[in-house]
């Protein structure tokens, strides 16, 4: 009896990700959710520019590779052409929170019935460790070699908090994949985001705090520890908006 298998929606292709990178975990959670909802045949994924650009090779649903930051606009086009499709984007922090900020904010404002999986690892991975919009104050990167100085480079953006202020956002949750417990929670959040789209309730986003051991200059375990000690305090986990909930999380 098979008790643990590769999700059907995950392609049989070797990941190009670095050792210790958490993209692989999140890919799996997305694929598991697609399998459980039985929606692979009508799902269209939109890959970003960045480390996860090759996401189009890793899922068995139809895939589109978007220009840098434009995945939410591309997803809008797909969804408006074929509203019956389940449409998700998979984007990193540079893609979503810097060059694609306008596209991101406006899918929220329009209540575009799509789901964004947002990987926040506080750095540009693909280009080799430059400062991201989510790089923490004081964090060293190749373009903030003395640590991010908020007087020069400004402050990080808290995406879930910002998007939860928009009326069209149905669901915004920040999760982490640093531990088994948190991975389980991340899975529930991703599946819930898809269910919210399936119900036609509006825009959903799951922000996943992730690690980049290579560009952080840490071992995989040190990276997970840094995520817990430094990232989570700045980017608190939790549900920022859930219009299906009763009580305090409905509007934060």
């Amino acid at each position: 009896m098979v008790v643990f298998d590769k999700p059907k929606a995950l392609a049989d292709a070797p990941f190009h990700y670095c050792p210790g990178c958490t993209h692989g975990i999140v890919h799996r959670l997305v694929a598991e959710s697609i399998d459980e909802l039985g929606c692979e045949g009508r799902t269209v994924g939109v890959a970003p520019v960045g480390c996860s650009v090759f996401a189009y090779n890793y899922f068995n649903c139809d895939m589109i590779q978007a220009p840098h930051g434009r995945a939410p606009a591309v997803a809008t086009g797909v969804k408006r052409a074929k509203p019956e499709n389940m449409v998700f984007t998979y984007q990193g922090d540079g893609d979503l929170a810097a060059i694609g900020t306008a596209e991101t904010v406006h899918v929220g404002a329009r209540g575009e019935n799509i789901t964004i999986i947002f990987i926040n690892n506080a750095i540009y991975g693909m280009t080799g460790g430059q400062m991201a919009p989510t790089t923490l104050p004081g964090q060293v990167s190749t373009t903030s070699p003395y640590g991010r100085n908020i007087k020069i480079q400004g402050h990080p953006i808290r995406i879930c908090e910002m998007l939860s202020t928009l009326d069209g956002t149905a669901y915004a949750e920040r999760v982490s994949v640093d531990s088994f417990k948190n991975i389980k929670k991340a899975k529930s959040a991703i599946k819930k985001a898809f269910e919210i789209q399936q119900a036609g309730l509006g825009f959903s986003i799951v922000e996943v705090l992730s690690t980049c051991p290579t560009n952080w200059g840490k071992t995989p375990t040190e990276a997970l520890e840094w995520l817990r000690t430094d990232m989570i305090p700045y980017y608190p986990l939790g549900v920022y908006k859930d219009i299906t909930a009763k009580g305090e999380n409905r509007h934060v």
Partner: protein, 353 residues
Amino acid sequence: MAKVLMKGNEVVAEAAIRSGCRLFFGYPITPQTEISETLAKRMPQVDGLCLQAESEVAAINMVLGASAAGARVLTSSSSPGISLKSEGISYMVGSDLPCVIVNVQRGGPGLGGIQPSQADYYQATKALGHGDMHLIVLAPASIQEVADLTMEAFDLADIYRMPVMILADGALGQMMEPVNFESRPSRQIPEKTWAAGGHGDKRKNNIINSLYIQPDELENMVVERFKRYAEIAEKEVKHEEYLTDDADIVLVSYGITARISKSAVNMARANGIKVGLFRPITLWPFPSKAIHAIGKKTKAILTVELNMGQMVSDVKLAVENACPVEFYGRTGGMLPSVEEVYKKIATMAAELK
């Protein structure tokens, strides 16, 4: 069907609907805003959608997504907005995605002006985006042709899997002429088996992508695309000639300028100067062979444009020094008068004697 009096921009909208286009993504900019205003009214009447994007950048990427999902889709803008769309246009070319893009040109560079211009000729025919690429570029000269070429553009886009641009100008966008939308001979449109609109558990997944990290793979993709371009250059070039048979001087101009040039040709003929007009309808592919033939039988060519001289370089390349090629143009939104063009013709005619 009876002719109706319509504005060029409205005609683009109506022609798109009659071509089966049910999705429009755009952003307001003068002098083309009536296209989206018309579609905002018309699309809901035909179960279509006209969506105002947050920017031209977002609009072209919505077009990319809708096209990738297999839909016929339109966007329109004017010069500064086309610059913003160029990123998405390049990605659509690299992903072999069809769409129709309308540029109702205004003066530039920068914010420029809002009056008619043809200053985006180089951009449209040579550099609409980064990389080795072309779009089919169609240049209507009347409101009827705006209708015909818009409908043609959707077919060409689907047949060759590439974006097609209607290169109009502020005058064509704003002026009114009688038009009818009679049915054209329909072309064979291939089925979109490549579309990524959900595989329905019936086929392997489709991937729409412009990234080829291996240089030999990318080279192959580009070379294959250029084979398609060669086929288009073979089959789809269009131009119109007026009184060129016995002409000593042939004017070459397109779009609204061709209308002014035609009047100047008539004025010159009335004054005993043998002049003709050559009007490219496809700006890419450029009617180089036909212009080369003209260059060999006429004494001189005059290119007339609403810019500082752009198409004239393609005319010179086509003519290959077979005869002198001169240029007359106004820019910044200024239109030459018929008399101005005639004066230039008369000067050239005097020099030929």
